[in-house]
Symmetry: D3
Subunit: 223 residues, 6 copies
Amino acid sequence: MIHIKTKIERPSPELIEPFSKLGAATVHEASGRKGAVDPAIKPIRKGLRLCGPAFTVQCAPGDNLMLHKALEKAQPGDVLVASVSGYPEGGYFGGLMAVSAMARRLGGLAIDGCIRDSEEIIAMGFPIFARGFCIRGTSKSVPGLVNHPTVFGGIVVQPGDLILGDDDGMVVVARAEAESVLEKALKRVEAEVKKSEQLRSGVSSVELNKLGKVFEALGLVEE
Amino acid sequence: MIHIKTKIERPSPELIEPFSKLGAATVHEASGRKGAVDPAIKPIRKGLRLCGPAFTVQCAPGDNLMLHKALEKAQPGDVLVASVSGYPEGGYFGGLMAVSAMARRLGGLAIDGCIRDSEEIIAMGFPIFARGFCIRGTSKSVPGLVNHPTVFGGIVVQPGDLILGDDDGMVVVARAEAESVLEKALKRVEAEVKKSEQLRSGVSSVELNKLGKVFEALGLVEE
Amino acid sequence: MIHIKTKIERPSPELIEPFSKLGAATVHEASGRKGAVDPAIKPIRKGLRLCGPAFTVQCAPGDNLMLHKALEKAQPGDVLVASVSGYPEGGYFGGLMAVSAMARRLGGLAIDGCIRDSEEIIAMGFPIFARGFCIRGTSKSVPGLVNHPTVFGGIVVQPGDLILGDDDGMVVVARAEAESVLEKALKRVEAEVKKSEQLRSGVSSVELNKLGKVFEALGLVEE
Amino acid sequence: MIHIKTKIERPSPELIEPFSKLGAATVHEASGRKGAVDPAIKPIRKGLRLCGPAFTVQCAPGDNLMLHKALEKAQPGDVLVASVSGYPEGGYFGGLMAVSAMARRLGGLAIDGCIRDSEEIIAMGFPIFARGFCIRGTSKSVPGLVNHPTVFGGIVVQPGDLILGDDDGMVVVARAEAESVLEKALKRVEAEVKKSEQLRSGVSSVELNKLGKVFEALGLVEE
Amino acid sequence: MIHIKTKIERPSPELIEPFSKLGAATVHEASGRKGAVDPAIKPIRKGLRLCGPAFTVQCAPGDNLMLHKALEKAQPGDVLVASVSGYPEGGYFGGLMAVSAMARRLGGLAIDGCIRDSEEIIAMGFPIFARGFCIRGTSKSVPGLVNHPTVFGGIVVQPGDLILGDDDGMVVVARAEAESVLEKALKRVEAEVKKSEQLRSGVSSVELNKLGKVFEALGLVEE
Amino acid sequence: MIHIKTKIERPSPELIEPFSKLGAATVHEASGRKGAVDPAIKPIRKGLRLCGPAFTVQCAPGDNLMLHKALEKAQPGDVLVASVSGYPEGGYFGGLMAVSAMARRLGGLAIDGCIRDSEEIIAMGFPIFARGFCIRGTSKSVPGLVNHPTVFGGIVVQPGDLILGDDDGMVVVARAEAESVLEKALKRVEAEVKKSEQLRSGVSSVELNKLGKVFEALGLVEE
């Protein structure tokens, strides 16, 4: 069995770039409402955005050994997507690791545990989505996996899937579907501009979404 | 049975206006310590305030149909108070709905579920209190109720009750009691200014609150 | 039995001062990974720091009587460390108490319950770590303890222990160990500066931490 | 203001008796899917059933004074429905109180907090629905309310409403609706006997519930 | 896209039969410590066991339409493995459905939501693992998926994987690995019998597991 | 530093024996309402009782190495009181360890994590209080402590303290106070027999506890 895989396929930079400007909710809708990660995993400061190919990491509870291996092997732009086996309350990632991640121009970190040295990392500008902050130290001695499929915030992530996050949360897009999702997302953005104008001019969302017939079909009685 | 009621009685604007400058904790105290909503329902950004008559909405889990009806029927200044039947993790309200709500000059939204497009809505300035953010889409197809009494954050809200929120949380004041609560709240504010001066000058809160006799009555031994 | 103790031994100001510039995670590591308080007890605004001798308070659920006694008896620089007996959802500390605490130049408050008047207290600059905000009023009538050992966020705190907090969380250092912990913490800071430089220059954290032999010993297979 | 009300209207014993043989789920359905209490409030042993008019009690956190008043005033058959203001972890009701409740032939206790002396109470056979067991003592000194409307497990309970519980949970039926709900529930039971026979003979529930057209309308593709 | 798949490959009955006598913990160990389902999903009565090929179902929150389809399509011995999209508090499965499932000789149900009519279902003997009991009714109108890979209690389940549960919890074994896992599990059972005898005779588990050298390597000081 | 202490002082068997017949709630009251352990740590089957001197163990998250050391060193009658550092979801103790514990005639196990092989252990009759059951395997490689003071379910436990548990929960009694607590507990039991008789004869608990004057002092208005 190979524990640490390093040869993964990624979406092309040309595909990632336009995604980086889209909202997570928009992409989730364009994906057919798939891929919504547990929203308790949040950006470490308001306004942070994350977008890139998932470089997946599976850590043992309270151990960050595999994150070090991932830091060593990931390529510029990659987003480390780290699962911590159900023990969030450790400081799995800290200031020194962020320094290394920035030196290697990684795209960010998404982790279903906590991090520490948050003030310093926020000042550096390295984008992280995490469950929170925790000073508790972790060990560097227990085996795990790199670039195996992993369950992250309730969603299966394959290495090389696209992961995208903003203040609303994170969404995972399968690599093979990225292109068609992008297309649908861009159309959705366009359509929303028009809808927004109509709503601003006073049209109701009931009218806009043709919900009148829904209310009628349901037989809801209105005063 | 009438599902959607639209004729509700509201506190007068003259009554709402002075409330809008009061803190939620002060009003809670002036109400005889009633009406404190579950504090897990928080403003979507620090510093947001909410004050107005409750326009209540009961949504089915994962469905926002009735919120659209409420947007259509609420009057300027009304605060939509929406209960989502115990399934908070959906994006029940988003950017387009906020555009419509602002076009109709609603007073805000209080919801015991999540919203999405938070960055955009915060930029618009539409005041929302919610459990958090979530990109997961909702349906628009399941019936619910508008302006029926509802349990919101553990508190019974009648349509037309006054709801008020700040960074500390939200409080609900029964319409019939609003006037007397306001009076007590204003007196409380006045009294606190004096107390604040005394405390600042070095008087202890034990002295100020005459707690000496409480300690004595309890027989607490002091070193 | 003496309920309210006031004669406690504190670390010297010369010892506290250098601690106040250290990160909580660093001090936790220097303590041999002890003393990490439950990270759900957070600063009331990002960037707040807390550092001083613990003046411990044990409140009954929903009652803040003993906090008033503590405000009266604590010395300048002391940090009130208040446990609320497992009922966090009350507003145990508010604006007036903060005015008094600042008038008496206390070092701050760490509480495993909620506070209220948060906007006002943040504006004043009084440092508080708490579970959150809650408007619900508390009584001032139930006995408790002052300066007895207490369990706070899962950690035993003795009166006079040093408590230190930043955005990452809080750490408690036993008074008797404070000096040696400080020494180790300062060395750690120094070592991290060097490590940071190496990582910035492209050395991997695997190399820096000599993790190669760990991976080897574990027999992890790499692609 | 009257804190302790004792004159409440109850459903007739003739109405309560047939309810006592129905399942909570059946009654919930017959009520139009209303009145489902938070299922974390469970019978203290499997197989316990509870059915009677609600005699509502509002306790302060950690205090059971009002439960004693309720024990004194409730009538045979009444079910005490006690809310504990969001602090479940106290032993609000114990063996002695159960002795008194049985001596007075009360119908049971439903409480959104914990109880103690569970082994003894289960042996006595007094029916209780609670959040769990807790030895922590409560005070008998803080005011509350008796027979005011209360929010219990997320549901508004009016004094004299019918409350019914079994292993699946509890349901509250408004007094005015009890008769019509009973009628619908009995019809439902009858219908279920027939359905059960059909299903047992091999008819699928898709066929029985005519779900074929639902699948068709939704356009679900089947292999 | 095919929503409802029915042609799945299953482990042979010869393979399933010996598994049905093994403990979930033993199989988890024999799997290399993989496949442990969230233990909050528990048998509806102590002593229940579940073992069979997974027939996976994905329900919308608060809707059980797809469970009816699964009941219609599953084969004798199959275990329905149903995910409810993060909204556990509904009664997704009840007495009538259990009657149908038994008539069709299904192997059981594993669901990450609640069920109702528990007393009746326990009496029938149909094996169910669930998060709890809840009377709240569900709709039969929202689309979902049958026999697509699903995340169940934090674990990815492929249709036809083997799922096994006892009082300790559930474990999922990939179909392709079932044979080798069985072999290892049987060896483990055999080894445990011997170990049990040694421990019973007074040998310590430190000695049995040769932990002396671990303590030595760690440098732990013993009094 | 000594990690593993083995010389602890215990209450005498003459003291432990009468405690073993008392209820946890009674002992908690007799202790002045101290020592109530988090009630989420429950007996693994209804009716189990635990009573003995605490032999404390501190495990690293997901590791049970120190439990093996404790099994080796504890004396007959000792109750292992094990804290698992905030990661409950592992199977820290299983059937083989229970065999060894019974061979060595230990008094039981109290653990703030999960155990596995529950069916087998219940059949053996070895008394365990735990947070639940979990099949997830633990490592045997990370250092911890034996017989150091530990925080267990929110309560500080010193080695040799008396720990007592029944269906209601657990209570810890400091060794030095055990004798006086026993005396008070026995008196309490005696008094309760009399009170029980009075209540059974129809005296109300308001009368029995002289609560009339409390209601009067509070000014509660009765209908």
